[in-house]
Amino acid sequence: MMTSSGTSNAALNLHLISDFNLETLGQYVRNDTSAPVVSVSSAPFGQVFPTLLEPSPSGPSSFALVWTIPEKLVPTFAAALNYVAISEERLIAEVREFADCLRKAQKHFRAIFVVSWTLPSYYRGTGILNLKGQGPRKLLLKMNLALAEELENCGNIYVLDGQRWIDAVGKNSHSPKLYYLTKTPFHAEVFVRAVRELKAAITAVLGASKKLVILDLDNTLWGGVVGDLGWEKVRLGGHDYVGEAYVDFQKALKGLRNRGILLAIASKNQESIALEALAKHPEMVLRPTDFTTWRINWKDKAANIADLVAELRLGLQSAVFIDDNPVERARVREALPEVYVPEWPADPTLFPSSLLQLDCFDSAYATAEDALRQEMYATEKQREFSRKAVGSAEEWLLSLDTELTVEELSDANRVRVVQLLNKTNQMNLTTRRLSEQELQTWLQSDKRKLWAFRVRDKFGDSGLTGILSLEVTSEVAYVSDFVLSCRVMGRNIERAMVACASRYCASLGLRELRAHYLPTVKNKPCLEFWMSSGFSHKEENWFVWLLDQPYVFPPGIKVNSLPGVDADAVAAQDGSPHGNQVSPVPASTR
């Protein structure tokens, strides 16, 4: 099991809120030096409701863990455990009261993790009646479901499945002795597993989860060497336990693809033979179209992987490499330490379970953009082909027929905006990371403005891929966020976004638009854009545009709407010789 790295949030804190002694978990978190490193604070022992209603001040990097004992927190459940007939309405009402308190606390934390309720592993309950009538386990299932549903739409509250940690430790998961000695009901091993899950959860919220799986082929996706055997004779499916395991491994990979994780191939093979196997084998689950890209040749795998990741405009820290060959794994680990290379079993029957237990793909969001990521990269490939076919870069950009739709923050786009804000590293001016709640709070001032940009062109829809936010003073507007997905970088969207901001600022009668670049190890592409943006650059990392001059929209990009700016005023200021179009804003979006 691993916890993905790649985050640089040095001052993360986890606030422990519990009705039992959670100090042992705190000690494990403090001593865990794997990324992201997290400090720990604790609420007063047993003060769950008062702490949630009035949390102590916490910063934007503060997370909360709320872990409670069901019979302590929910009085009606305690009665049910003593086989007293209870009102289930009352039981669920008590769960809702708890959910209410969590909702009230959510604005104080970047994210709240609530551990689902469990019963001790030794608790037998009513045996065959556990899941009938008011059987204790049936009631507990209802309580957990009610809690999850109550918190379903709370963007920064996540219910973690504590039962998994209990099950993994087994009969020793609970220690009555430890409970009576220290009021800690769980064995330390449960906390070890909880810490792993918490690290994965925090990594997911920070947007640092893995986005790409790069796969070997021979003896990884199928059994045997296709170049020697021919595609008809590789072990895949059939009445063969090893073949079935390979099919299940491919199905698990397909599941990752459906979640928006990109698949790619790095294999030492003859490309035509390998692709023929993928296309023709009747039991092949993954076909060539399931892979975003591949490097199938006899070159060094590390070099191939670096090249492949660069093609997809991802960072190496976004990639996972799976290969049955320990020599290749060692080579890639040594050459590309940012790529996560999990240890891999020699036995193919363990491949599916080894993949399914990886926590590095955990994501805090599931958006339409995630599900369509593979298709978006496929259209990007078509763009690349067209780029090669067209003479100059300028002509190619004009040929794309790019349309930009500008939106304000809304219920419909909030999750995606926050995801993009928290995941984007390269084209990111300030690398500001905010939760949904924090972003909404920030936008409460009428001096602040945020736009989300959707991009589409003749090849397809790239989705919501840009964010620009401003803070306006009496004469000057400052760019607070300038974020663009690497998926659409280099297509002049950057300039169009800046042009939108300048039009808005000019319409307010402001004097200057300023952007302050905050360097990170990953956002140099953003600096390069601003250096070439035409803004004056007299002070290090400061970029200034005097608004008495219109910032020209790049040619060939049609802006469908610009909320907050009168369309006529925008059109009148447009100095573009290419006649940029700004359509009137639909009434519903104003």
């Binding site: 042992t24 403090r30 001593n31 020793n172 002795k177 430890l178 220290t182 800690t184 064995h187 330390a188």
Partner: protein, 124 residues
């Protein structure tokens, strides 16, 4: 509780001859490896018979000792196949003292194992 005066380890009954002492020491060292994961680097426990566990100059506070007890009991069950309670005599009491050092604990465990097995050899 950390500053309590405990029985002087040097005055403990000689234990090196117990046939179960080495098994007990192995169990304790495995438990130390586990408990060290909970402790900051500077408080980690050395695997040595003379290491002071609890009390004056000990590395464990009362929560750490409780966790350590549970881990050691579990390891005894796994390694020696015996359920031995280490809290029959109050582990936090200065007069008990078997959690004072690794050696005193190994001695206590080996004597308990010998009692449970009626003096039988571990392999018998």
């Amino acid at each position: 509780m950390d500053s309590m005066e405990f029985v002087d380890p040097s005055k403990e009954a000689p234990t090196g001859g117990s046939r179960y002492f080495d098994d007990a020491l192995r169990v304790i060292y495995e438990a130390i490896a586990d408990i060290n994961l909970q402790l900051p680097q500077e408080q980690r426990i050395e695997k040595s018979p003379t290491t002071v566990l609890f009390g004056k100059d000990g590395k464990l506070d009362s929560l750490g000792l409780a966790n350590f007890i549970v881990i050691v009991e579990q390891k005894i069950e796994e390694v020696l196949g015996l359920l031995i309670g280490l809290t029959e005599d109050d582990p936090f009491s200065p007069s008990t003292g078997h959690f004072r050092t690794v050696q005193s604990l190994a001695s206590y465990i080996s004597q308990s194992v010998a009692r449970e097995r009626g003096g039988a050899h571990p392999q018998s």
